[in-house]
């Protein structure tokens, strides 16, 4: 029995990875129309470079990065821009988006590849990452170019490649590691070079033996360590991963770089490899379409901007009456009400729960069982913060660490009284942030 890397806290939901775990990645044909939001990432939205009526090619930059924390956006199909207007996005808001009608030609802009990308200098790699509009594909969508350029005085010792995929149901990263092993490892090396990391550690949850085996087979000779992680949500949370693998902690309100670590998702590594090898910007990603509410669950390689509806149709449509359509996994994903929303860079899957398994809960009184305290992976007292939030005691909520909450949802998941702990903590975070903003301005 190989020892797995563990961390304190976390929960064991039903993983349901068997639904799509053995399904190879299928390439989904580009849809007739893509909707590409200019804000798919953390930070400032990109500035539009096209207007209605323009012809665009695959890979053409259609939104320019608007600052240090921002990312470029590219056309994922060739065709005509039919609109540049606010469109519904997965976060519930309308976001300025470029709508492109696909001409079916798949005509690409010239892309400058490199036969041996590992020869590129760290500056050149960073430049390519930036030009390709790469953001973290694990969910937070933080611009990668900004991430690999750590603040002054921070020396990066370790690059952690996050292949944990701890969200239940999702298997996109697993299939990527199994089928594009070489590119993931190349991407890891390029990222390490870009940020100056001395060592690469690839961490994979122990429930993906095939991915672990393939990564180990290819990494062995290259001084890259592949470690097995405990099968527990949120093993792939950045802070939990660093704690589990290196037994280090990110300073409170600080960055991983401040403890000498940089974490990147396997999907991000793959995107970096493609940007450096082929000069291809981030215009497609692997997603999992799954859940009991979908007829033919599958793993797809899809173009960014493909509407949910097209993907659900491709997967055979709904099985029975749908209850919830979720962008992402069941623990942190966002419930959707409009199936015209597009896949964006940070979405790893579409989960459809049928109305049979979609439940709504009536909270009961808290019995102080303290399970939320036991499972919190950042060691908060969720029940106490909830109580403060319910009484609008924002100072106290802040004192008890509300702003340290990573919104993993373990507290709400485990609560036997079905209380909406995380929702109250989110409210506290919003109020505290507003108070802080008012104090500084």
């Amino acid at each position: 029995m190989v020892k797995v890397k563990n961390f304190r806290g976390g929960v064991h939901p039903e993983y349901n990875k068997h639904i799509t775990g053995d399904k190879p990645i299928k390439v989904l044909p580009a849809p007739n129309e893509v909707v590409i939001p200019l804000a798919q990432h953390a930070g400032a939205p990109a500035e539009p470079l096209v207007t209605k009526g323009d012809s665009v090619l695959v890979g053409q930059e259609i939104g320019r990065s608007a600052g240090t924390i921002s990312a470029a956006v590219h056309a994922s199909v060739s065709g005509t821009v039919v609109a540049v207007e606010p469109r519904q996005s997965i976060n519930g808001r309308e976001v300025l988006s470029v709508v492109i009608e696909n001409d079916g030609q798949d005509a690409k802009v010239p892309m400058a590849g490199h036969p041996d990308p590992i020869q590129l200098s760290s500056g050149e790699i960073r430049q390519r990452i930036e030009a390709a509009g790469i953001v973290g594909l694990g969910g937070a969508a933080f611009p990668t170019a900004a991430k690999v350029n750590p603040p002054q005085g921070c020396k990066i010792e370790y690059l952690l490649i996050n292949g944990s995929e701890c969200e239940p149901y999702l298997t996109a990263d697993q299939k990527l590691m199994e089928e594009y092993t070489e590119d993931v490892i190349l991407g890891a090396k390029l990222l390490a070079k870009a940020c100056g990391a001395e060592k690469i550690i690839i961490a994979v949850e122990a429930n993906k033996p095939e991915a672990l085996r393939k990564m180990r087979a290819l990494a062995g000779s290259n001084a890259i360590e592949v470690v097995a992680l405990v099968v527990k949500y949120p093993a792939g949370g950045e802070k939990q991963l660093i704690k589990a693998v290196l037994n280090r902690e990110v300073p409170e309100h600080g960055l991983p770089a401040q403890c000498g670590v940089l974490v990147n998702n396997v999907g991000t590594a793959w995107a970096v490899a493609k940007a450096c090898k082929h000069g291809q910007p981030l215009i497609e990603r692997v997603i999992t379409v799954t859940g009991d509410g979908i007829k033919e669950p599958a793993n797809y390689l899809v173009r960014i901007g493909t509407p949910f509806r097209d993907i659900i149709d491709a997967a055979g449509g709904f099985a029975g009456e749908p209850g919830k359509v979720i962008a992402g996994g069941p623990m942190m994903g966002l419930a959707q009400f409009d199936l015209n929303v597009p896949i964006v860079k940070g979405v790893a899957g579409i989960l459809v729960l049928s109305n049979k398994v979609t439940k709504e809960f009536d909270p009961m009184p808290c019995i102080k069982c303290a399970r939320c305290v036991d499972v919190c992976p950042v060691y908060l007292m969720p029940v106490t913060i909830e109580k403060f939030a319910m009484n609008a005691m924002w100072d106290e909520a802040e004192d008890y660490g509300a702003m340290d909450c990573i919104e993993c949802g373990c507290c709400t998941y485990i609560c036997p009284s079905k209380r909406a702990l995380l929702s109250w903590i989110r409210l506290a975070k919003t109020e505290i942030a507003e108070l802080q903003r008012r104090q500084t301005s």
Binding site: C259, K324, P330, P416, S423
Partner: protein, 304 residues
């Protein structure tokens, strides 16, 4: 274009199977071997007192929820647990009306006046028992021999009269559910296995009593097995609502219970140590929670 079939709610979208009702029923299940042992040793008195306590507890819960114009939530099992715990802590020969009074006080004064489930600072069953001990001291400290109705005047807390085996299996005079260490441990292990019992409280409690008994030259095994200690440490002190929520806090709580119990047993003149030790520590629970906040991830970490 909205799809009206789709439910919108914040993450997480899945929940653990366990519920508060299930937790309460797990405690009830853990008390079944204890009640069975009590019925084996004390016969009809065990059925009489425990059933009456349960019925009165659930009944007064329903009555006071109705008076408070709250939904009647008696099916959550919490009043059932309180009734069972109180009933099992009574001496076999206690008159029925005293059990009725104790159970009524447990639910009404111990729980409902504070706002019901989850809001009570003190363990309701112990509140009921404390009132009975203070009001009817002689009846509450009169125990009968198992398998007979013969009253024994001797307090069971005199070392040397009974063997460890008798104490372990429970063939000694005592309150209904408190004589059989075996049945209590069975229930405790079940609770621990089901994730309903935090080991820190009983271990801290019993460990403190054991260490101090040894230090003060007492018979350690006798101190642990006699009286209501084991029953209280496993079923009463571990009440979730009235014990601390932090891991360190639960250690302090358990150890504190042990300290107070030893003080009362060795030097006090009270007829009852267990009840007061836990109730006193219940009062400290909010303070303990405040003093034992866990260090938050990343706090105190130097920036490299």
């Amino acid at each position: 274009m909205e799809d009206s079939r789709l439910v919108l709610s914040p993450s997480p979208h899945i929940r653990d199977e366990d519920t508060t009702e299930k937790i309460m029923l797990t405690v009830v299940a853990a008390l079944v071997p204890v009640w069975a042992a009590a019925t084996y040793f004390f016969g009809f008195n065990s059925v009489r007192l425990v059933l009456v306590s349960i019925l009165v507890a659930v009944g007064s819960e329903a009555l006071f929820l109705a008076i408070r114009r709250k939904p009647i939530t008696i099916w959550d099992g919490s009043a059932l647990v309180t009734g069972m715990l109180l009933g099992l802590s009574l001496p076999p020969s206690l008159p029925t009306w005293m059990a009725i009074l104790g159970s009524f006080i447990a639910i009404v004064i111990g729980k409902q006046v504070f706002g019901g489930l989850g809001a009570n600072p003190f363990n309701p069953a112990l509140v009921g028992r404390a009132v009975l001990v203070a009001s009817f001291t002689s009846q509450m400290t009169t125990w009968t021999m198992p398998f007979t109705d013969a009253v024994t005047s001797a307090t069971p807390l005199v070392s040397g009269q009974v063997s460890y085996a008798e104490l372990f299996f429970g063939t000694v005079p005592g309150s209904l559910g408190e004589t059989s260490a075996l049945a209590i441990l069975l229930g405790g292990v079940f609770l621990f296995y089901r994730g309903v019992l935090d080991y820190r409280i009983p271990v801290g409690f019993l460990g403190t009593v054991a260490v101090l008994s040894f230090v003060f030259g007492q018979d350690v095994a006798y101190q642990l097995l006699s009286g209501s200690l084991l029953f209280g440490a496993v079923f009463m002190a571990t009440d979730m609502v009235t014990s601390p929520i932090t891991p360190v806090g639960r250690w302090i709580f358990g150890i504190g219970c042990g300290l107070v119990l030893v003080l009362i047993r060795f030097w006090g003149s009270l007829p009852e140590g267990l009840t007061y030790s836990i109730l006193l520590m219940n009062a400290f629970t909010p303070l303990i929670n405040r003093w034992t906040r866990p260090r938050i991830y990343g706090q105190g970490v130097k920036q490299a």
